[in-house]
Amino acid sequence: MATTELASPRGAPPGHATGEIVFRFACASAATLLLVALAGVVISLFVGGLPAFRTFGIGFLTSTTWNPVTEVYGAAGPIAGTLITAFLSLLIALPLALGVSVFLVEFCPVKLSRPIAIAVELLAGIPSIVYGMWGLFVLAPWFAAHVQLPIVMSVTPGSWLDRFFAGTPNGANIFTASLILAVMILPYMAAVFRELFLTVPPQVREAAYGLGCTPFEVIKAVVIPYVRRGMIGVIMLGLGRALGETMAVTFIIGNAHGFPHSLFDSGSTIASTVANEFAEATTEMHTSALIALGFLLFVITFVVLAIARLLLREAKH
């Protein structure tokens, strides 16, 4: 780091030192503003949600009653919906994303690998509302007619399978919402996985090949152990995205407030509930309950994202 004496020698115009201080101060305040913004989000959500937390106490987390008419709000349904859809989508997207990235890094012909990788990265930038519309107009009707209806018709009523798959066969349910989420986080995770795999030094990989390893063994014994922490980081990033995603889910989850009883039951997530009701919330308690939901979502995603970033930073060093 150069010292200030060096930077402003004798004979420099007098305005110089002030200019330096002003500029430095402007930069530092802009950086600080980022922290202020984050703090502002936490504080405003907490303060806005306080009336709901005060009134309903722990019941806000455990009750499944969400009734704007009687002004009773319990968030167990949306919380469960958020967690179930996020983890289910991760379960679907993770193996696919791993497969895609391994294919691109190890097996794909070089000429094809770059265009596919670029296409995957570009698709990761498509706005979620586009995925949501596709879910609503294409996936949901198809799913209802070709998957849900046959399953519902073929399982015996009352059996455990029936409980697992029960629901109105309209395609708007927890499972299709998770599918859409999976399709959405898939290109994102595949792109970051690929970048991560490319950080493995070629010597290490070539050494393993030199010992006679098959590509599968190279991936399993060399590449994955090398980037293990980073991989968990990427998985957490994907989870963070799935948890907070709003538009793709709102279109297709069915927007029922109760606790989802089966895989094909309609439900809601925190984000979809807020998106659907906030602009129409008229009473103070309704608004407060929705902001309290937002606060919960913030806490959940913040923990997940913080872990992700810590792991990824260690992976970079």
């Binding site: 930077a7 980022l34 696919l96 498509i126 596709w134 995603t301």
Partner: protein
């Protein structure tokens, strides 16, 4: 030994096939989405899309109010995001690199990048909508700024760190102050990179729906006053797609296609520019 080698080869074969299948599934899902978007959207594009406002159900119309609203609010958002983002990114790269505070800022900026956008909407509602008793274009623009800034910060920092330190040393050796070196030499050398930072931020916010739902709200009329509720493409798409009217749904597909094409285009331009800067 032969059986063992054969088993290893078989394992590997299965693995290769599984990876290829994963790629095919992923790509075909994404191709299907793009195809639906094209087939449902292209047919609806006519001269009225850009020249007429959103219609009542059953009558002809376009998306002019939504497109203009989106452009205005993205403009406001990018204006704020570029100033704060470039300054903050500069601080991280030039002044704060290696300091503890720098690490803290970088960490929370990374968290902000992936924070759920609907929460930013709630925050801006509490900040600008509730106190002033009204949804407004300003609130929408500020919400978008909160989303774009962390991306600009991150990209700016990356780009500036790439600039050779010989540039800085040469400037300082001539007696220029640090601020002068940064503004006149480093920023100038990195200007394509800074443009990329802006483009990436713009691509991110141009399709954002959730933070606009309760900040700018949406508006069925043409309006370019930022103090009024303002229409935007994403919120209009959301409203039209969930409506029961065929012609509204058709307009929603056109809007979705416009946004997707715009985002793809901006991303590609940003990517090409970024590649040119990295080329020595």
């Amino acid at each position: 030994m032969i059986t063992r080698a054969a088993r290893r080869r078989a394992f590997n074969g299965v693995f290769v096939v599984l990876c290829s299948i994963a790629t095919v599934i992923a790509l075909s899902a994404l191709v299907m989405i793009l195809w639906t978007l094209l087939s449902k959207g292209v047919g609806g594009i006519d001269g009225m899309i850009f020249t007429h406002d959103q219609p009542a159900p059953g009558s002809p119309g376009g998306l002019r109010n939504a497109i203009v609203g989106s452009l205005i609010m993205c403009g406001v958002g990018m204006g704020i995001a570029l100033v704060i983002g470039i300054l903050a990114g500069t601080w991280l790269a030039e002044y704060g690199a290696g300091t503890k505070y720098g690490h803290v800022v970088r960490f929370f900026n990374d968290v902000l990048i992936s924070a759920p956008s609907i929460l930013i909407g709630l925050f801006v509602y509490e900040l600008l909508v509730a106190p002033f008793h009204g949804f407004s274009g300003w609130a929408g623009g500020v919400a978008l700024a909160f989303l774009a800034t962390p991306i600009v910060v991150r990209t700016t920092e990356d780009i500036l760190t790439l600039q050779p330190s010989a540039l800085r040393e040469a400037g300082m050796a001539l007696g220029a102050s640090r601020a002068f070196v940064i503004r006149r030499i480093i920023w100038k050398a990195a200007r394509t990179g800074l443009l990329t930072a802006g483009l990436l931020g713009f691509a991110r916010i141009s399709g954002e729906t959730a933070p606009l739902l309760f900040t700018s709200l949406g508006n069925q009329f043409y309006n370019h006053s930022l103090s009024q509720p303002m229409a935007s493409l994403p919120t209009t798409i959301f409203q039209f797609a969930l409506s029961a009217y065929d012609d509204w749904q058709r307009l929603a597909w056109v809007g979705a296609l416009l946004i997707a094409v715009a985002v793809l285009f901006i991303n590609i331009v940003g990517r090409v520019l970024a590649r040119e800067t990295h080329r020595p």
